[in-house]
């Protein structure tokens, strides 16, 4: 019974979104359903936070190796929640200066803004920046021009990297005007405009076809893996 209702909900929700572009009266339904979807997506963040709390508390109570890190995670989580939900340090919005809670939690000067600017942004951007070293090291070890395909990949990456830097401009700046298309900066533009456009377009079309077929399978109940268990 529970599974059948779930499959019916999935079908109705999907069909509502599908028919809305074709039926004017269904546009309102689609807007409502989209709002509900957004609310549930927001609830999913709450679920994620609750799950994090549960897991870290379990690790903390088990006193396993590195339990102190769980305590740090919990503390960071609770403090962020407290300053964000409580709008600590937020001043009222100019459109309603007498309503203390009218300001946005991430307004400049608030504690939540402070956490975002001085904790979250530096850590996440440095984590991504560090990947530059690993990508370069992996490329150095893996890139070998063993065949035509590998050579094309290697040469393209080389042209794109050089063509977008001052070094590329200097290296091929001596080429005469009639061969200006071979200058690295122009070659990079041609690769992006022609070859990359064609390849990406085919990939995008392929993904869209995959999304459509998976969507149909989900709505028709042919794919029930999300229900878990022996579905």
């Amino acid at each position: 019974m529970s599974r059948s209702v779930a499959l019916l909900i999935c079908l109705v929700g999907g069909l509502t979104m599908l028919v809305s572009p074709f039926l004017p009266m269904a546009t309102g339904w689609a807007n409502d359903v989209t709002d509900w979807f957004n609310i549930l997506a927001a609830m999913a963040f709450v679920l994620g936070g609750g799950s994090l709390l549960k897991v870290q508390l379990m690790r903390l109570s088990a006193r396993g190796p590195g339990w102190g890190y769980s305590a740090v995670t919990l503390l960071a989580f609770v403090v962020t929640l407290w300053v964000g939900l409580g709008k600590v340090g937020v001043v009222a919005d100019p459109s309603a200066p007498t309503v203390a809670w009218s300001g946005k939690p991430d307004d400049e000067g608030s504690a939540f803004w402070w956490i975002y600017l001085y904790v979250m942004t530096p850590i996440t951007s440095t984590l991504f920046a560090v990947l530059a070293f690993y990508v370069a090291s992996a490329a150095f070890r893996a890139f070998r021009a063993k065949n035509l395909e590998a050579t094309l990949l290697l040469a393209t990456a080389f042209v794109i990297l050089l063509g977008r830097t001052f070094a590329g401009v200097v290296l091929t700046g001596w080429l005469p005007d009639w061969a200006s298309g071979l200058r690295l900066e122009n070659l990079a533009v041609t690769i992006m405009d022609v070859f990359n456009t064609a390849g990406n377009r085919a990939i995008i079309i392929g993904i869209a076809l995959g999304v459509a077929s998976t969507g149909i399978r989900l709505m028709l109940g042919l794919d029930r893996s999300y229900l878990g268990g022996d579905a």
Partner: protein, 348 residues
């Protein structure tokens, strides 16, 4: 049993502590010479607002002169550069308009610590990196929960269930303000979703999950078919023979269009796995692989460039905002040469 934050071998732990001590000493030396480092300045800006009743009795707030009767004042602290601080000090020594902000200065130093801690992972896993990693996990989870609450749950759910309360509490400009019975549906589904945290919630959580998956599938089907199939196919329908404005044959434009059309068709041929890649299909698929390799190569190049740009931004943060070693924008009013000279003079 290993306790707390140290689950590494003692010798390795000592090595890391030694390294961080060396960095701390170097930073202390830098802080003690020249103009110092890593300070953030702010200026408090006060704005007064007075209520103005417009048509239909709607009240709006307008900026008025400070001290106006009935006006409400909002004070904000805004960033000021070290150069602006120095200029203000030169004009009026001991002034308090622009002052150092302790909370932002502490934040800047914390951000520098976190940046160095993440970079330290390049030399190997260590307690500082793990500590930073634990912090970002907790902060990220909290951050997205807070954003979801204020950006979605309050305006889309609570505002429909208790509009008067929400209007008085945090959304004074809320339009409409009517109770919507249908808002109970996402509330019910949301509670069922959250029940997954309880032992009995596994079965109850199926319904909201089915709703999310069904609507997401429908939403994405419409948008992908519209923008990723129809629009991309339309964009690929290019003239293979391009004629210029003067009626002449445009060789390069024609060649470009031909390459795009051939590239898309050949790459799609590679993705057709229901037909064996032999003969004409096989040859087309092989050409498609060449196009794919060029696409992946350019994607790789851009990924590396993006990461290096981020790396440069982090170094800029360390050397400009924190260490005050360089001043390319002239925010502190000190050229690189002036900074170095002042450091050398102080040291000697």
């Amino acid at each position: 049993m290993t306790v707390g934050l140290t689950d590494q071998a003692p010798r390795q732990g000592m090595w890391w502590i030694g390294l961080f001590l060396v960095i701390a000493v170097l930073v202390a030396i830098r802080a003690g010479i020249g103009e110092g480092m890593g300070r953030v300045y702010v200026q408090t800006e006060s704005t007064s607002y007075a209520p103005v009743t417009g048509d239909e009795g709607r009240v709006t707030w307008s900026v008025v002169a400070e001290g106006t009767a009935g006006a409400a004042t909002i004070e904000r602290e805004l960033f000021r550069t070290a150069g602006q601080y120095r200029a203000a000090e030169a004009a009026s020594p001991g002034q308090q308009a622009i002052r150092m902000s302790w909370d932002r200065t502490i934040g800047l130093w914390l951000a520098a610590f976190f940046t160095l801690a993440v970079f330290s992972f390049l030399a190997g896993d260590n307690p500082a990196y793990k500590f930073t990693e634990s912090i970002v996990i907790g902060v990220s989870a909290g951050y997205w929960m807070v954003v979801a609450f204020w950006e979605t749950l309050v305006p889309k759910l609570l505002a429909n269930l208790a509009p008067d309360m929400v209007k008085a509490w945090c959304m004074p400009n809320l339009e409409g303000g009517l109770f919507h019975l249908d808002a109970l549906i996402p509330l019910g589904l949301g509670i069922m979703l959250l029940s997954q945290l309880t032992p009995l919630g596994r079965h109850v959580g199926r319904w909201p999950l089915a709703f999310v998956i069904g609507t997401f599938a429908g939403l994405k089907m419409v948008s992908h078919v519209e923008s990723d199939i129809i629009e991309q196919v339309r964009a690929t329908m290019l003239p293979l023979v391009v004629v210029g404005d003067d009626g002449s044959f445009a060789v390069w434009a024609s060649l470009r269009n031909m390459l795009i059309v051939v590239g898309v068709l050949c790459t799609l041929a590679y993705f057709v796995f229901s037909v064996e890649h032999k003969g004409a299909v096989g040859r087309a698929a092989r050409v498609g692989v060449w196009f794919l390799m060029i696409t992946f190569g350019s994607a790789f190049g851009f990924t590396v460039m993006g990461r290096i740009a981020l790396l440069a931004a982090r170094f800029e943060f360390l050397f400009i905002d924190w260490l005050w070693l360089i001043d390319p924008k002239g925010d502190r009013g000190m050229t690189v040469v002036a900074t170095l000279v002042s450091c050398i003079v102080d040291m000697t």
